[in-house]
C-alpha cells in the first residue's frame, strides 16, 4: 500500500467518523426533547444490535449464507441467553467456529 493511499485512508476514515458522530450532538444537543424521543432512544440498542448480528453472521457483501461462524454465534447466543458473561459468550463463539473449521 502506497504512503499516499495509507494517509488518505486514515485521514478520510477519521474525518468521516468524526462528522457522523458529531452531527447529532451539534444539531440537537443541550435541549430537552419530548417524552416520545426517549421511548425511541430506549429501542435503539435492540434494533441496531439485532441488525449488526444478522448482517455479520448471515451476510457476505450482498450475499446471504451460513458458515462456521454462524454456528459459533448461535451457540454463543444460547450461552448468553442462559446468563453467561460477555467474555464467555465470545469465547464460545470463537472456539466453536475454530473447531468446526479445523474439522472441515
Amino acid at each position: 500500500m502506497s504512503a499516499a493511499t495509507t494517509w488518505t485512508l486514515i485521514g478520510g476514515c477519521a474525518a468521516i467518523t468524526a462528522v457522523l458522530k458529531g452531527a447529532g450532538p451539534i444539531a440537537l444537543g443541550g435541549r430537552t426533547l419530548p417524552p416520545w424521543f426517549s421511548s425511541i432512544v430506549a429501542l435503539m440498542a435492540p434494533a441496531l444490535f439485532a441488525a449488526l448480528v444478522v448482517t455479520q453472521v448471515l451476510a457476505d457483501g450482498r450475499e446471504l449464507g451460513v458458515g462456521a461462524d454462524t454456528a459459533g454465534v448461535a451457540l454463543a447466543g444460547v450461552a448468553a441467553w442462559r446468563g453467561a458473561s460477555v467474555i464467555t459468550v465470545v469465547f464460545v463463539a470463537a472456539v466453536t467456529a475454530a473447531a468446526l473449521r479445523a474439522l472441515a
Binding site: 485512508l9 447529532g24 450532538p25 443541550g30 439485532a50 441488525a51 461462524d69 467474555i87
Partner: protein, 222 residues
C-alpha cells in the same frame, strides 16, 4: 460525572476484552492488506470505529479503490447518526464541545452509559469508552506486530467474536415485549436489504424499527 468514570471503566471492561481480540484480528488484516504496522495502530487510534475500519480494509484487500473503501466506512458508520441524536440531549456545552463528547460514543455506550432516567451519563460514557479505546489500540498493535505468530484469524474463530459480542448485548436488552418486537423488526429490515444495498445501509435502515416505540405509545394513550 467524575464519580461515575470508574464504574464506567468497570462496566466497559468485559467489552474491552472482546474488543481487544477483534482489534487483534484487525491488526492481522491490516498487515495482510499491506499496511505498515504503525499505520494500522495510527488508524485505530484516530478512527476508533471497528466495523468501519474492517470494511474499508477488506475492500482495499479485495482490490477495490480508495473511494469505495471510504464509502464503505461511511455507510458502516452511518448508524452513529441516529446514535448521536440519541446521546445529544445528555451532552452539555457549546456545539464544538458537544461534537467532541460525541466522538466518545461507541456501540456499547448505548447499553453501559444509560443513566436509568431515559438519558445517558457522561462519566459512564467516558469511562467505558476509555477502557475500550485502550484495548482497541493495543490489540491492533498486537495483531499488526505479531500477526505472523497469530496466523489466520478465521482459523482461530476471531471473526465470530464481533457478532457474538453484539448478540450478548442484544439479549441483555430483550426485557420487554416491545424490545423483542423491535429486535425482530430490525433484524428483518437488515436481512431484507442485504441483497439490495451496500453493507452498512441495512444496519442504518434497521434503526427505523425504533419507530415502533412511537406507534405503540400513541395507541396506549387513552
Amino acid at each position: 460525572m467524575r464519580g461515575t468514570f470508574r464504574p464506567g471503566v468497570r462496566a466497559g471492561l468485559p467489552f474491552a476484552v472482546a474488543g481487544g481480540l477483534l482489534a487483534t484480528s484487525f491488526g492481522v488484516l491490516a498487515r495482510d492488506v499491506g499496511m505498515p504496522a504503525w499505520a494500522a495502530v495510527l488508524m485505530s487510534a484516530i478512527v476508533f470505529a471497528g466495523s468501519a475500519q474492517i470494511a474499508a480494509l477488506t475492500i482495499l484487500g479485495a482490490g477495490g479503490g480508495l473511494g469505495a473503501a471510504l464509502g464503505a466506512a461511511a455507510l458502516m458508520n452511518s448508524r452513529f447518526l441516529p446514535m448521536g441524536v440519541a446521546f445529544a440531549p445528555s451532552l452539555p456545552g457549546g456545539p464544538l464541545a458537544r461534537a467532541a463528547q460525541g466522538q466518545t460514543v461507541v456501540d456499547v455506550s448505548l447499553v453501559v452509559a444509560r443513566d436509568g432516567q431515559g438519558g445517558y451519563d457522561r462519566g459512564l460514557l467516558f469511562g467505558s469508552s476509555a477502557i475500550q479505546y485502550l484495548t482497541w489500540v493495543s490489540g491492533t498493535a498486537a495483531g499488526a506486530i505479531a500477526g505472523s505468530l497469530i496466523g489466520d484469524p478465521e482459523a482461530l474463530g476471531l471473526d465470530a467474536i464481533y457478532p457474538a459480542f453484539f448478540l450478548a448485548l442484544m439479549i441483555g436488552e430483550l426485557r420487554g415485549g416491545r424490545a423483542k418486537g423491535v429486535a425482530v423488526a430490525g433484524a428483518l429490515i437488515a436481512l431484507a436489504l442485504v441483497p439490495l444495498t451496500p453493507p452498512g445501509v441495512p444496519v442504518l435502515a434497521a434503526s427505523l424499527a425504533t419507530l415502533i416505540g412511537l406507534v405503540r405509545r400513541e395507541s396506549e394513550t387513552p
